[in-house]
C-alpha cells in the first residue's frame, strides 16, 4: 500500500479539471473547437439581439425596398425594406430557442424511454420499441407536419409550444434507439447487478447508476439533433406551418415574397440560407467532435 499516492488520474474526462478538459478538446478536435466558436457567436447574437443588431427587425421602410448589400444594410433589405442582417440576428434567437428546447425535450424523453426500455426488458421493452418503430416509419418532416396540424396553436413567452412539440416528437424515437443500445451494455455490467443485489429501487438504479453512464451518447445525440431541429423549424416555417410573420425566422425569410423577388434580390435568400447552413454545419460538426472526444477508443 505504499505506491498509492503516485497513481495519477488517467481518464481525461475527469470532471475535476474543467480547464484541462477545454484545452484537451481544442488540441484533439480543432474543427470541433471552431464549430463551437460559431455556435457561441450564434448564441451571443440570439441572446443580445437588441444590442447587436443595427436595426429593428420589424421596422418597415418603404424608402429602402430590396436594397442590395451595402454599408448601411450589410445583407440588403427585403420587400418591406426591413434590414435582413438584423432579421438574421433575431432569427438566431428564434432558431436557438426552438431547437434547444425541442432537442432537449426530445432527447431527454427519448433517453429516459431508452434506458427504461433496456433496464426492464421483456414486454415493456417490446411495447416501447414497437411504438418507436411506428414513429420512425414516418419521414421526419411528415411527422412534424402532422403534429403541427393536429395541435392547437399555443404561445407561451412568445414561443410556439406546438412548434416545439412538433420538432421534438420525431427526435424521441431516434434518441431512444441509440440510448437503449448503450444502456443494454450497461444493464449487464456487474455494478448494476451489485445495485440490484443491494436492493435499490428501480428508479434509483436507472437514474443514479445507468443514466450517468449514457450521458456521452445522450450529449452527442442532443447536439446532433440541435442541427436537425434548426433545419426542421426552418422547413416548417418555410411551409408556413411554423413561425408566423412578422416574427423573424430563417425559414420564414426564405418563403413568402422572397420567392417572388429572388431573381432581382438574390440576397433575400442567400443570407438566411447561409445562416441555416452554417448553424446546421456547426452543430453537426460539434456533435461529431464531441463523440470522438468522449469515445475512449479514439484516444492514443
Amino acid at each position: 500500500m505504499t505506491a498509492i499516492t503516485s497513481s495519477a488520474p488517467t481518464a481525461p474526462t475527469s470532471a475535476a479539471r474543467p480547464r484541462g478538459v477545454i484545452r484537451d478538446f481544442i488540441n484533439q478536435q480543432p474543427l470541433g473547437a471552431l464549430s463551437f466558436v460559431v455556435i457561441l457567436s450564434m448564441t451571443i447574437a440570439g441572446i443580445f439581439s437588441e444590442w447587436v443588431s443595427p436595426y429593428d427587425p420589424l421596422h418597415i421602410d418603404f424608402a429602402a425596398i430590396l436594397q442590395p448589400p451595402s454599408w448601411e444594410h450589410w445583407a440588403g433589405t427585403d420587400a418591406y425594406g426591413r434590414d435582413i442582417f438584423s432579421r438574421i440576428i433575431y432569427g438566431a434567437r428564434t432558431a436557438l430557442v426552438i431547437s434547444l428546447t425541442s432537442s432537449f425535450l426530445g432527447s431527454t424523453i427519448g433517453a429516459i424511454l431508452g434506458i427504461a426500455s433496456a433496464y426492464f426488458g421483456g414486454w415493456i421493452d417490446d411495447w416501447i420499441q414497437r411504438f418507436m418503430d411506428i414513429l420512425l416509419a414516418f419521414p421526419i418532416i411528415v411527422l412534424a407536419l402532422v403534429v403541427v396540424a393536429a395541435l392547437k396553436t399555443a404561445v407561451l413567452f412568445g414561443i410556439d409550444i406546438n412548434l416545439i412539440v412538433a420538432v421534438a416528437i420525431p427526435i424521441i424515437p431516434r434518441v431512444c434507439r441509440v440510448v437503449r443500445a448503450a444502456a443494454l451494455t450497461i444493464r449487464v455490467m456487474p455494478y448494476v447487478d451489485a445495485a440490484r443485489a443491494a436492493g435499490y429501487s428501480d428508479s434509483r438504479i436507472i437514474f443514479r447508476h445507468m443514466a450517468p453512464n449514457v450521458v456521452a451518447p445522450y450529449l452527442i445525440m442532443f447536439t446532433a439533433f440541435m442541427a436537425q431541429a434548426i433545419l426542421l423549424e426552418a422547413s416548417l416555417s418555410f411551409l408556413g406551418l411554423g413561425v408566423t410573420e412578422p416574427t423573424p425566422a430563417w425559414g420564414l425569410m426564405l418563403s413568402g415574397n422572397a420567392a417572388d423577388f429572388y431573381r432581382e434580390a438574390p440576397w433575400m435568400i442567400l443570407f438566411p440560407g447561409l445562416a441555416i447552413s452554417l448553424a446546421v454545419f456547426a452543430f453537426n460538426l460539434f456533435g461529431d467532435s464531441l463523440r470522438d472526444y468522449l469515445d475512449p477508443r479514439f484516444k492514443v
Partner: protein
C-alpha cells in the same frame, strides 16, 4: 552481460537443449529497451532485459501484468503499437541477424515463417469471417508459395498434428463453430504452418479451462520436442511454467530479476520477489497454512521507476544499499542469475525464513455444530430459453439451456462453501440465483429459515441487507461515474443506516480502513485505483450493510498473483472477525482449497461431489474431481515431472444438448453403458461426503 550469457550457455539445462547449447543460441535478446510515449509521460515498459533461447528449448517469461513480458515479445516481432512504442536500445539477434535492423519486407518474411506467435485470446485472434481452412492456408500461400492442393494437404496434416480429428470438415468451419480449446489448437496449427524455428506464445492458455489448458500445454510441449521448435511461453501462472519450461526468466517492473532452470527457480529461488511470488499462491501440494504470505504494496509506476532495485519498496529484506544497487543480473550458480544484492545470504539460508510447518485448521465439522444453516438450497434448477439460430419471424424455435439442474447444498453460519467447476458449468448462475438476480425455475432457497424462493423485490428488501455479493471483475463492478465514497456510502443512505452526511463519511472511512484502504481514497474515482484496491472497494461496499452471507463470484481471478494473496487473506480475516458465511465461486482449485471449509464440484449444471475440504482433496471420489485435481498445475517441477500424463480428453459438451445419463460420461475414463443410460443420483458415501457417480 556477455559473460553471463556465456555461462548461461555452458550451464546447460539437462534435456533437449543440452545438445544445442554449445552452438550460438537461436535467439539472443541483448539489453533491450522499449518505451511508450503516452499523453501522461514516457513509460519505460522494458528497461534493459537480456535473455537467450536455444534451439528446441522451452523458455518461460514469468511476471505480473504490466511487467513488460508481452511488450518484450512484441518488440522481438516488430509489432509494437506505432507510433507510441519504440525500441530505444538493444539488439535482438535471431540466428545472428539483428531483427531490429531489418527492413519491413525482410521482417515480414521472418514473421510467420521463422518466428510464429500465438496469442492469449483464441476468441478474438481468429478472424470470424474467414473459414479455419483459409486462415491456416494463408501463411502457406504467402511464405511457401504453395498451390491450393499442396496447402490443403498441409492444412490437413497440421490439424492432425494439433489433435483435431475430422480435419476436412473442420477446415470448412468458421471460428464461432469451434470451442475455445479447439480454436487455440487452430491458432497453434497456424503457428506451425511454415515449420518455424521459434514460437512465441503469449499467455496461450490463460483464457482456457484447466482441463483444456492441460491438453494444450501438453500438445505444445510435445510438438516442441518432436519438431525441435523453440518455444517462448509468456505467462503469469507459475504452475504452468513448472511443468513445461526448461529455463525461466522472472520479470518485475521492466527488468529480468532472476533467471535459471526451472529447478533453480522453483527449488532454489534467489530473489525475494520470486520467493514472495511462490509463497503468495495457495498450493495444492503443500499442507494448507493458516495464512498466505503476501507481497505488500504495488508494482512501481514505470514512468518514474525507483532507483536501484525496483522491488526494494516492497521487499521485506531491503537495505539502504538496495537503492543504489546495480540491477544487473549476477550469476550465483552456473546459469542461475539474480539481481538481488543479498543473494549470498539467501543461498546461505540466513535471510529468508523457511516456511513454518502448516498448523492444522479447525475443520468444517466444528462450525457445522451450529444448528440452523444460514443458506439452504434444495433441488434448485435454472433453465434459460434461447432462440435457435435459423429461426425466423414465422418460426420461433426455442432451445432450453439447463444452466443449473437439481442442485442442493447448505451453508452453515461462519462457513465457506467453495463451488468449483469449469466455465459453463453453472456455478455463476447458482450464485446469481441465490442472490435472486435470477428467478429459479424450480427448487427452494431458504435463508435463515425463511423461504425466499418466490419473494419479489419489495419483500426481499429487508433480507437483502444480510446477503451481499463480491464480483469477479473489479473494473466493471464499480460505477465509473461515482466516487469510492459514494459507492460505499450509497447502501448506507438507501437503507437509512446513517443520520447525516457526517456520519456517512465516518462510516465510509471506517469501512475503507477495515478493508486496508485509506480514508482519503473516498474522493477517488474507481479508474484512479489499482485492480486490487478496486476489489477492496467492492468488498467494502458489500460490508456496508453488515451482511451475514456473501456470495464471492471469482473474487480473485482477475487479479495478479501477488495481489490475490492479499485479497484472500482479507476475506479470511473479515470472516473471522464478522462471522461471515461465504459461497466462494472459483475455478482455481488451489484458491478454493485454501479458503473453503467444504467444497462442491459442479459439472454441466449438476453437482458432482460435495465434501469437506480435506476429504475432497485427499480422497476425491468422482472421476471429474480427480481429473480436475490432476489437471491443475503445481508450481514445483519435481512434483510435475512425477505426475502421470493428463487423462481427461475431449471438450465440455454444450449445455444446449447435454449427454444422456451421467453428463460426464463423454469424457469419463471409467464410464460404461450404465452411465450412458442413467443419471446418477447424489449419494451419501461418508458422513459429510456426497457424490453423484455410479462407480464411486
Amino acid at each position: 552481460m556477455l559473460d553471463q550469457q556465456a555461462t548461461a550457455r555452458t550451464a546447460a539445462p539437462r534435456d533437449a537443449a543440452a545438445a544445442a547449447s554449445t552452438a550460438t543460441p537461436l535467439l539472443a535478446v541483448e539489453d533491450l529497451h522499449v518505451q511508450f510515449d503516452t499523453s501522461r509521460g514516457v513509460v519505460h515498459a522494458v528497461d534493459g532485459i537480456s535473455y537467450t533461447v536455444n534451439r528446441g528449448e522451452v523458455v518461460a517469461i514469468v511476471g505480473e501484468s504490466g511487467c513488460g513480458k508481452s511488450v518484450s515479445s512484441l518488440a522481438i516481432m516488430g509489432l509494437l503499437a506505432k507510433p507510441a512504442g519504440k525500441v530505444t536500445k538493444g539488439r535482438v539477434l535471431f540466428e545472428g541477424r539483428d531483427l531490429l535492423k531489418l527492413s519491413a519486407d525482410d521482417m515480414r518474411a521472418i514473421r510467420g515463417r521463422e518466428i510464429a506467435m500465438i496469442f492469449q485470446e483464441p476468441m478474438t485472434s481468429l478472424n470470424p469471417v474467414l473459414s479455419v481452412g483459409e486462415q491456416i492456408k494463408e501463411p502457406l500461400f504467402i511464405h511457401l508459395k504453395m498451390t491450393e492442393q499442396e496447402a490443403q494437404a498441409r492444412a490437413l496434416e497440421l490439424l492432425q498434428l494439433v489433435g483435431i480429428t475430422d480435419g476436412a470438415r473442420r477446415l470448412e468451419q468458421f471460428p464461432h463453430q469451434l470451442s475455445g480449446g479447439m480454436r487455440q489448437r487452430v491458432m497453434i496449427a497456424i503457428g506451425l504452418a511454415c515449420n518455424p524455428k521459434l514460437i512465441i506464445a503469449d499467455e496461450p492458455t490463460t483464457a482456457l479451462d484447466v482441463t483444456i489448458q492441460a491438453q494444450i500445454l501438453e500438445l505444445m510441449k510435445d510438438l516442441s520436442r518432436r519438431l525441435n521448435i523453440a518455444l517462448i511461453i509468456i505467462t503469469h501462472n507459475l504452475g504452468v511454467v513448472a511443468r513445461y519450461a526448461d529455463r525461466v526468466n522472472v520479470m518485475y517492473a521492466a527488468h529480468v530479476i532472476e533467471n535459471g532452470t526451472a529447478d533453480d527457480i522453483f527449488l532454489r529461488p534467489l530473489h525475494p520477489y520470486t520467493i514472495g511470488l511462490m509463497r503468495s499462491v495457495p498450493r495444492l501440494d503443500l499442507p494448507r497454512g493458516i495464512k498466505l504470505e503476501t507481497i505488500e504494496g504495488l508494482p512501481p509506476d514505470l514512468r518514474s521507476p525507483p532507483l536501484g532495485c525496483r522491488f526494494a519498496p516492497r521487499c521485506p529484506y531491503r537495505l539502504d544499499a538496495c537503492i543504489q544497487a546495480d540491477t544487473m543480473l549476477r550469476d550465483i550458480a552456473p546459469g542461475h542469475g539474480t539481481a538481488c544484492i543479498r543473494a549470498d545470504e539467501i543461498v546461505a539460508g540466513t535471510l529468508v525464513q523457511a516456511l513454518p510447518p502448516a498448523k492444522p485448521v479447525a475443520t468444517a465439522a466444528a462450525k457445522e455444530a451450529a444448528a440452523e444453516p444460514i443458506l439452504k438450497v434444495e433441488g434448485m434448477r435454472k433453465y434459460f430459453t434461447v432462440p435457435l439460430s435459423g429461426s425466423g419471424v414465422f418460426s420461433s424455435k426455442i432451445a432450453t439451456v439447463k444452466a443449473v439442474d437439481d442442485v442442493s447444498f447448505t451453508i452453515a453460519p461462519g462457513e465457506t462453501l467453495g463451488l468449483v467447476g469449469e466455465s459453463g458449468c453453472g456455478k455463476t448462475t447458482v450464485g446469481r440465483t441465490v442472490l435472486k438476480l435470477e428467478e429459479p425455475t424450480d427448487g427452494t432457497i431458504t435463508y435463515t429459515g425463511v423461504d425466499i424462493t418466490h419473494r419479489n423485490a419489495k419483500q426481499m428488501r429487508e433480507l437483502r441487507r444480510g446477503i451481499q455479493v463480491i464480483f469477479q471483475d473489479p473494473y466493471s463492478s464499480l460505477n465509473p461515474r461515482m466516487t469510492v465514497g459514494q459507492i460505499i456510502g450509497e447502501p448506507l443512505r438507501v437503507y437509512k443506516l446513517v443520520k447525516d452526511k457526517k456520519e456517512e463519511e465516518e462510516r465510509v472511512a471506517g469501512l475503507l480502513r477495515q478493508v486496508g484502504l485509506f480514508d482519503y481514497m473516498a474522493e477517488r474515482y474507481p479508474h484512479q485505483l489499482s485492480g486490487g484496491q478496486r476489489q477492496r472497494v467492492g468488498i467494502a461496499r458489500a460490508l456496508a450493510l453488515e451482511p451475514r452471507f456473501i456470495v464471492c463470484d471469482e473474487p480473485v481471478s482477475a487479479l495478479d498473483v501477488s495481489i490475490q494473496g492479499q485479497i484472500i487473506n482479507l476475506l479470511e480475516d473479515l470472516q473471522e472477525r464478522l462471522n461471515l458465511s461465504y459461497l466462494f465461486i472459483a475455478h482455481d482449485l488451489a484458491v478454493v482449497r485454501h479458503i473453503s471449509d467444504r467444497v462442491a464440484v459442479m459439472y454441466l449444471g449438476r453437482i458432482a461431489e460435495v465434501a469437506d475440504r480435506d476429504d475432497l482433496y485427499a480422497d476425491p471420489k468422482h472421476p471429474y474431481t480427480k481429473a480436475l485435481l490432476d489437471a491443475a498445475p503445481i508450481p514445483d517441477p519435481r512434483v510435475e515431472r512425477a505426475r502421470a500424463p493428463r487423462a481427461l480428453k475431449g471438450e465440455i459438451p454444450s449445455p444446449l444438448n447435454p449427454p444422456s445419463g451421467c453428463v460426464f460420461h463423454t469424457r469419463c475414463p471409467i464410464a460404461d453403458e450404465h452411465c450412458r443410460r442413467e443419471i446418477p443420483q447424489v449419494r451419501q458415501i461418508g458422513p459429510r461426503h456426497i457424490v453423484a457417480c455410479h462407480k464411486a
